[in-house]
């Protein structure tokens, strides 16, 4: 058994930020990730981030990742890679499988779950053909492995993931022949849709993919118009020559460990579905367990980093590393930045949804 002050599960933007805060406060931290490298999705984010200077605006995501890794290294944070957390007991103990064969146990005074989210699938005829993949998978292929998944891509979903990955597929040299959106209006930021449009990418609103056709892999894709009840309109089918279908139909928080630990869970569709109830300190219904990032409601990397810091600050304070005043001061600064990121027509809904979760926590206390 290994003992530590804080164990952080997941070394993406939230987990890295949480671990850095804890280490800076003077806690012993172990940061655990199932992947071979830390950074989570940050190293796939080759685009420049929005926000203000404090949110790293104008900086490409992977550079923010590099900066976080450098800070983690300087702080001598113990990073356990290739480690899957398979069990959580009594709110303080983790069962970890390293390299898929070696069992380890870790006892931590505080646990921060920053496990992220997983992509949603859309099922249609032919969806198991090679060439059909999550938009995130395509993004990993082009931006991390530098392998292009195909030359003619149909993107399902016009949210920010769909439009950002479409743009990056163009940058990788593919053609995006259609962005298909089931809703009557496009979802992502207008600056992203505008970039695609001036590159000649057509958008099909109120459309869905009916079928992917092909012998051994995708050769064509049939799209169809949807009526106001989201039912396919017969006779509006269009067959497009394509070798790749990317699905960007939202993300679902990875809450298995929180459920296993017995954390109270609530259902907030706008944040991705089931999320652990948590308070303004990012603490769940179990006192020793905190959450941060997409597990606490799907948002974006900028908010994930701020939530990670928040969880780290409060976990450290609960260990006695910060006075109540200092805790409040640091927390206040982060909440100001979070409120900014959750403002405007795109952020307002997320802010309200987060407030709803926080109000649930105060009711149960």
């Amino acid at each position: 058994m290994v003992f530590t002050d804080v164990a952080v599960v997941g070394a993406g933007p939230a987990g890295l930020s949480a671990a850095i805060e804890c280490a800076e406060a003077g806690a012993n931290v172990i940061l655990i990730d199932e992947n071979t490298k830390p950074g989570g999705q940050l190293f796939k984010q080759i685009h420049k981030f929005f926000g203000s200077r404090e949110h790293h605006a104008g900086v490409r995501g992977f550079r923010i990742g590099e900066e976080l890794l450098l800070r983690a290294r300087k702080l001598d944070i113990d990073v356990w890679l290739n480690c899957e957390v398979c069990g959580i007991y009594g709110g303080t103990e983790l069962w970890i499988v390293k390299n898929r064969r070696e069992s380890r146990r870790l006892k931590a005074r505080k646990i921060i779950l920053a496990t992220g989210a997983t992509e949603n699938a859309v099922a249609f005829s032919g969806w198991t053909l090679p060439g059909v993949m999550g938009a995130g998978a395509a993004q990993t292929m082009i931006n991390l492995h530098r392998v292009i998944p195909g030359n003619r891509v149909v993107m399902i979903g016009s949210g920010n993931v769909g439009v950002i990955v479409s743009y990056q597929l163009l940058q990788a040299g593919a053609d995006v022949i259609a962005v298909v959106e089931a809703a009557p209006r496009l979802g992502g930021y207008g600056v992203h849709t505008a970039k695609l449009r001036r590159a000649g990418v057509p958008f099909f609103t109120s459309h869905t993919v009916l079928e992917a056709r092909g012998k051994e892999s995708v050769e064509s894709v049939v799209i169809v118009r949807l009526d106001e009840y989201w039912k396919p309109v017969a006779g509006t089918e269009k067959e497009l020559e394509a070798d790749t279908v990317c699905i960007a139909a939202g993300l679902t928080p990875l809450i298995e460990l929180a459920m296993l630990a017995g954390c109270e869970i609530c259902f907030i569709p706008s944040l991705g579905g089931h999320v652990p109830v948590h308070d303004r300190r990012m603490r769940t219904s179990i006192e020793s367990i905190y959450v941060a990032g997409d597990i606490a409601g799907v948002e974006e990397a900028s908010t994930a980093m701020e939530e990670g810091r928040l969880s780290g600050i409060h976990a450290s304070a609960s260990l006695g590393l910060y006075s109540a005043d200092k805790e409040e001061e640091l927390s206040h600064q982060i909440w100001e930045r979070l409120d900014v990121l959750r403002s405007g027509p795109f952020g307002e809904g997320r802010r309200k949804a987060k407030e709803k979760i926080i109000s649930m926590k105060s009711m149960t206390q």
Partner: protein, 177 residues
């Protein structure tokens, strides 16, 4: 602050076709007014949605771009202060700013736009200039390709094109490898 220009509104264009319409753009505070449109190099800020973002404001050395403390406000361009230097272009994470100059030559206007595709054009190349819908409007001659490392892989391309397409042209067609 000019309140009429700061009113909350929604671009139908970006939600349906993907791009704001020219009519919508002329109502946003980042689009140069008629008076400055044809008067020399000036920035066109095609930012039509209230998203929390403000790097363009600090990028401008002349204080020609104002967003204010509430960073979801749309950027307001003071076209009278704008010299068309282009420093705001690579600062915009949304690649939504370009500089156009109607007075460039007798028959040709010029544009500087951000470009993040490879291969890059070379000086002297003839390329296809496109509008917001990706439709080719006319040819363009590449005048400059700025790949300064401070712009972190956002290249700035300067091209000259037929003045008659001054309003329509926003970028160039992606080159094929």
């Amino acid at each position: 602050m000019n309140d009429t220009k700061k009113k909350a509104w929604q671009s139908e264009g970006v939600k349906t076709s993907g791009t704001p319409t020219l009519e919508e753009l002329t109502q946003t505070p980042g689009f140069p007014s008629e008076e400055f449109l044809y008067a020399g190099p000036v920035a066109f800020i095609e930012c039509v949605e209230k998203i929390p973002c403000n790097p363009c404001e600090t990028a401008c050395p002349r204080g020609a771009i104002t967003i204010g403390d509430n960073i979801t406000e749309l950027p307001m361009l003071d076209a009278g202060k704008c010299t068309g230097c282009g420093l705001c272009l690579p600062s915009c994470p949304g690649l939504a700013i370009y500089v156009k100059d109607y007075t460039f030559e007798q028959d040709r206007a010029s544009i500087i736009f951000p470009f993040e595709y490879l291969p890059l054009p070379k000086k002297g190349d003839i390329v296809e200039m496109v509008d917001r819908f990706g439709e080719t409007l006319c040819e363009g001659e590449i005048l400059m390709v700025n790949t300064s490392s401070r712009n972190d892989q956002t290249s700035l391309i300067k091209a000259a094109f037929d003045k008659r397409h001054f309003i329509g042209v926003v970028s160039m067609k992606r080159l094929v490898t």
